[in-house]
C-alpha cells in the first residue's frame, strides 16, 4: 500500500513523498517504515505507542486513533503534521 510522507519526515525517506509498504495493521506498517528508515517511527509515535500530539494518521480519508487499525492492500495511508508552530 502507499504511505504518504509529510515534508517534515522526508529527510528519513530520501525526500520521497510516497513509499510503498506492506502490513496488516498501522503498527506493522510503521515498524516496516522504521526498519527501512531508522528513527522515523519515534518522531511520530511515543514510547507508549501513542500517536504524538501534533501528528495525525489517516487511512484513506478516515483518521485512525489506534495503531492496531487493520489495513487492506489497496489502502492509502497519510501521515499528517497537524497544527503546531509559531
Amino acid at each position: 500500500m502507499t504511505v504518504h510522507i509529510p515534508s517534515a519526515l522526508r529527510s528519513y525517506t530520501g525526500q520521497k513523498s510516497e513509499v510503498e509498504a506492506e502490513g496488516r495493521t498501522v503498527a506493522e506498517i510503521l515498524s516496516e517504515l522504521d526498519r527501512r528508515y531508522p528513527g522515523l517511527r519515534f518522531r511520530i509515535i511515543t514510547e507508549q505507542d501513542t500517536i504524538r500530539a501534533h501528528i495525525r494518521i489517516f487511512v484513506n480519508d478516515k483518521q485512525i486513533q489506534s495503531l492496531s487499525a487493520t489495513l487492506r492492500s489497496d489502502d492509502h495511508i497519510h501521515i499528517v503534521c497537524a497544527l503546531s508552530g509559531g
Binding site: 528513527g39 519515534f42 518522531r43 509515535i45 514510547e47 507508549q48 501528528i55 503534521c81 503546531s84 509559531g86
Partner: protein, 387 residues
C-alpha cells in the same frame, strides 16, 4: 583536569573557540580565531528544529551531541563526530519505558540538557529531559537508556510534581554534573524538584536543599517546591558549587550541606533572580550571573530594560556590575539558563545568547562586551567549545 584540591593542572586554553548555539529554530556554530577577535557564523543546521542544547565532547574534541525536536516531531539526539560538519541521529533516543497494559507511562517531550561523562568513561554521556528524566549513553550518544532509579521511583515522581509544578514549557531535569575527581559523584537539578546528589554512581541520590529559599508560603522541606535554575561546579575547586535559583543566588562548599544565599549581597534594586550561572574555569572565587526582573508578575527581562552581567571575585561577598557596550535602555532581554558560558582562556571569555537572538561576547572576563551576531532565532543555549 582538576587535582584533588587545587587548580595547578588547569592551564588556560590557547586554541580557537567555537560557540555552539541552540535556538528555537535550529543550531548555529559561531567559529572564532585564537585571539577571539574574528568570528564567522555558520548557516543554520537543522533549520526549524527546536534545539535545546549542543555540546562538544571535551574528551575527544570532535564529537558533538544536539538535543532537538520540532513542533510536530518527537524528541531526538543528533550526533556528529567531525565537529558539526555532518550529523547522524541517535539509534535509540532517550525514552521512558513502555508502561504495562492498563497503566499510563510517561513520554519524553524534549531532551533538555546534555552532559559529557567523566574523563575515565570516554563514551559516557548524560541527558536530562522534560518531563524530568535522567538518561545515560555509554556509546557516545548512539543509544540511550534510563539511568538510575529516579525516573520510576515513587518518591522521586512525587518530588517531580506535575506539569503544573514545572516551568511553562514543561518541568526539566538539568544541571547534570560529574565530579572531575570521581565518576560516581553526581549532581542534578530539577525545575521543580530541587538539587540532588549521588556518591555511588546513581545507585542512590539524596537531596541537597538546606539553606535554599522557596516561594513564600511553601514548605521548604518539600523538594517539589524547590526550583534550581542552574547549578555549576567550579573546576578550580570541585568542592564548591554555585547555583542560580528561582529564589536567589547560592554557594555551597562541600562537604557542607548548607547553601549560602550570596545573592543577598546583590544590589537590592537588581535583586538576585536569573536563569544562568557561570563559573570561572580556574578561580573558584569568581562567578557571573545575568539578573532578570523577578518582581510582580515576573517579567523575566533585564531589570528596567538595562541589561547587565554581575560578577563576584570573592565567592559572592560583593558583586560588580558589568555592562560596557550594552544598550543603556529599552533592551528587554532574557538570557536562559543554558545560554551563558565561559571559555577557558586567559583572560576568560564570556558569552551569552538572548531571547531576542543576539550573541554577546567579552574577551576580558566581562569588562567590556561586543555583539557577535544579531537576528538569530530565540537562543536557548550557548556553549563555548575549545576546538
Amino acid at each position: 583536569m582538576a587535582t584533588e584540591k587545587g587548580t595547578a593542572s588547569l592551564k588556560p586554553a590557547k586554541g580557537p573557540v567555537a560557540l555552539l548555539i541552540g535556538t528555537r529554530k535550529g543550531a548555529f556554530i559561531l567559529r572564532g580565531d585564537r585571539a577571539r577577535r574574528t568570528w564567522k557564523l555558520s548557516h543554520p543546521q537543522f533549520l526549524g528544529q527546536i534545539v535545546h542544547h549542543v555540546v562538544l565532547d571535551p574528551r575527544d574534541r570532535r564529537t558533538m551531541l544536539m538535543a532537538a525536536r520540532t513542533g510536530h516531531l518527537g524528541p531526538t539526539v543528533f550526533r556528529s563526530t567531525d565537529q558539526g560538519k555532518t550529523w547522524k541521529e541517535a539509534k535509540t533516543p532517550p525514552a521512558f519505558p513502555k508502561a504495562p497494559d492498563g497503566q499510563t507511562g510517561r513520554v519524553v517531550d524534549h531532551v533538555f540538557w546534555l552532559t559529557p561523562g567523566h574523563a575515565s568513561e570516554p563514551n559516557a554521556w548524560y541527558a536530562g529531559t522534560s518531563p524530568q528524566g535522567l538518561f545515560r549513553s555509554d556509546d557516545g550518544g548512539v543509544t540511550w537508556k534510563p539511568f538510575s532509579y529516579i525516573n520510576d521511583d515513587p518518591q522521586y515522581r512525587e518530588w517531580m510534581g506535575t506539569v503544573q509544578d514545572g516551568t511553562p514549557d514543561g518541568p526539566k531535569l538539568h544541571s547534570i554534573i560529574v565530579d572531575p575527581r570521581d565518576p560516581r559523584h553526581l549532581y542534578f537539578g530539577m525545575s521543580g524538584g530541587g538539587v540532588h546528589e549521588s556518591v555511588d554512581g546513581g545507585k542512590t541520590f539524596t537531596t541537597l536543599l538546606e539553606g535554599l529559599d522557596v516561594v513564600e508560603g511553601f514548605d521548604r522541606s518539600t523538594p517539589t517546591v524547590h526550583d534550581p535554575h542552574c547549578v555549576r561546579l567550579c573546576p578550580g575547586n570541585p568542592d564548591r558549587l554555585y547555583q542560580q535559583n528561582h529564589c536567589g543566588i547560592y554557594r555551597i562548599d562541600r562537604p557542607s550541606k548548607q547553601w549560602l544565599r550570596i545573592g543577598n549581597n546583590m544590589p537590592k534594586r537588581i535583586g538576585d533572580v536569573g536563569f544562568p550561572m557561570v563559573v570561572h574555569p580556574r578561580d573558584p572565587e569568581t562567578a557571573w550571573v545575568f539578573p532578570m526582573d523577578g518582581t510582580g508578575v515576573w517579567p523575566r527581562v533585564s531589570p528596567g530594560g538595562k541589561p547587565a552581567v554581575y560578577r563576584t571575585r570573592n565567592a559572592g561577598q560583593t558583586w560588580a556590575r558589568l555592562n560596557k557596550n550594552f544598550p543603556k535602555s529599552q533592551a528587554w532581554w532574557t538570557v536562559k539558563r543554558q545560554a551563558m558560558t565561559a571559555d577557558a582562556h586567559e583572560p576568560v571569555g564570556l558569552y551569552f545568547g538572548t531571547t531576542s537572538g543576539e550573541v554577546w561576547a567579552s574577551r576580558t572576563g566581562g569588562a567590556n562586551w561586543t555583539c557577535l551576531a544579531r537576528h538569530l532565532p530565540e537562543i536557548y543555549s550557548v556553549e563555548a567549545a575549545e576546538l
